[in-house]
Amino acid sequence: MGIALFIFISLIKIVIGLAVLLTGVAYSVWLERKVVGHIQNRWGPTRVGPFGLLQPLADGAKLLFKEDLLPPQVYKPLYIAAPMIAIVCAVTSISVIPVGNSVTVFGVTTPLEITDVNIGLLIILGITSLGVYGVALSGWSSNSKYSLLGGLRASAQMVSYEIALGLSLVGVLIMAGSFSLRDIVDAQAGHFWGFIPRWNIFTGQLIGFFIYLTAAYAETNRIPFDLPEAETELVAGYHTEYSAMKFAMFFMAEYANMITVSCVATLLFLGGWHGLVFGPPILQAILPVFWFLAKVFVFMLIYIWVRGTLPRFRYDQLMAFGWKVLLPAAIVNLIATALAVAW
């Protein structure tokens, strides 16, 4: 493949990936408002479009045209850079996530992801670990006590839970023997006794799966771990002083991170794009991508469901849970997996 063709194909994939991701972000917000509304016996958005489906567009227009306030006490360079760091880190990590096998269009075969690297999982972990700077720096540069407390809580929480998160994934890595997300998914192909899929969640990584999910909720600052933006005590936490599009960038970063977490959970524990494939060739090409998106959608629903159900932790409970429960459990899971594989 020539370099020009490579760049052309990559550009197309980046544009498509970005469009899908940002649409997904916008409609996750809609879905969350709708589902939480119904959980609380309300309707959620109903006025803009059928079922309130155009609500994300209205919200986007509102945020674009709002006045972009710059409070006088902020440290300007970092105050402006922080939301950019947050959104860039959140969006970039989608680039190594495969959504299906390769496709051939007009005689050109290309994998269904922006770039296929052999350390894909590490890249996602690395980029998301940089995302904490956005939150921490926004809290500090706002020069306000609520923001600072939110930023401090966020950085402590994210560093603590990152360890459990990383360790919970090592079990899967041992079983697949690779960092490549494609290899990990391929290792989960096939069935037990013809009907139970060989997804990692069924092959002994159930504990790892729950550790990952819990730690990932803490990493994305979602209920029940949303102390960095706890509105009852910190107004809005690290983004208290932000308005208009800068606030929207934090908001989009949070939902993009949720989507990334759901994608990684799907790839590592639920078999990625594996699922029932049948019918004519065109259907066989589309179904794997459909299964992948369906699983991601289920994870997003669980996120919203948990938000509508659970109360918030106290901060000392959060730290004690992370260090004294999740981390030991992840280590035990890792040792057990290593012994089982070696045996």
Binding site: G126, Y133, W140, L152
Partner: protein, 170 residues
């Protein structure tokens, strides 16, 4: 022969050094810490260009993503203010700076000519995780284990230092 990788290597080398200089020049601790993040990040890119993709990823995850976050955390927590600018001592300018330059040139010369390793070509380092794991757990097993014990001792020391005295007695 100027390949894209070589040009990128030079660019990120310059970024790395510029970040290190900026770290010293900046007066606010948080700006210095962020310059150090830039240094770590560009070092990771250099590793990547040399072919050590696993080391590059770990460099970002551990140094830029965890250790520097703790640095920033402490600076934020202590709310450290700006440093005062002083003239600097004359000894530092007369002896320190030339001495540092001389020392670094000497180290570079020794490493390049007398360590038996020589220069590494672009993309020549053992990069894939499997090759690295084999090196770590086979060829360099003893140094690896000794280092891990060293780290363990450091962790225990930190725990002893951080534990509150009244808790130890009860």
């Amino acid at each position: 022969m100027l390949s894209v990788h070589f040009v990128l290597f030079l660019i990120f080398g310059v970024v790395c050094v510029a970040g290190a200089v900026n770290l010293l020049v900046q007066r606010h601790p948080i700006n210095s810490a962020l310059s150090l993040v830039v240094v770590m990040g560009s070092l990771a890119v250099e590793y990547l260009l040399l072919g050590a993709e696993f080391v590059a990823a770990v460099q970002v995850i551990v140094y830029a993503g965890a250790i520097m976050v703790l640095f920033v955390f402490v600076i934020m927590l202590l709310n450290a203010g700006e440093e005062e600018r002083t003239q600097g001592s004359r000894v530092a300018w007369l002896l320190g700076v030339p001495g540092m330059l001389l020392g670094s040139i000497l180290i570079a010369w020794v490493v390049l000519n007398h360590s038996g390793t020589g220069a590494v070509a672009i993309g020549a380092l053992p990069g894939p995780p499997k090759a690295l794991g084999w090196l770590l757990f086979h060829d360099f097993l003893l140094p690896f284990e000794v280092t891990s014990i060293l780290v363990l001792i450091a962790i225990m020391g930190a725990v002893v230092l951080a534990a509150r005295p009244e808790k130890r007695e009860s």
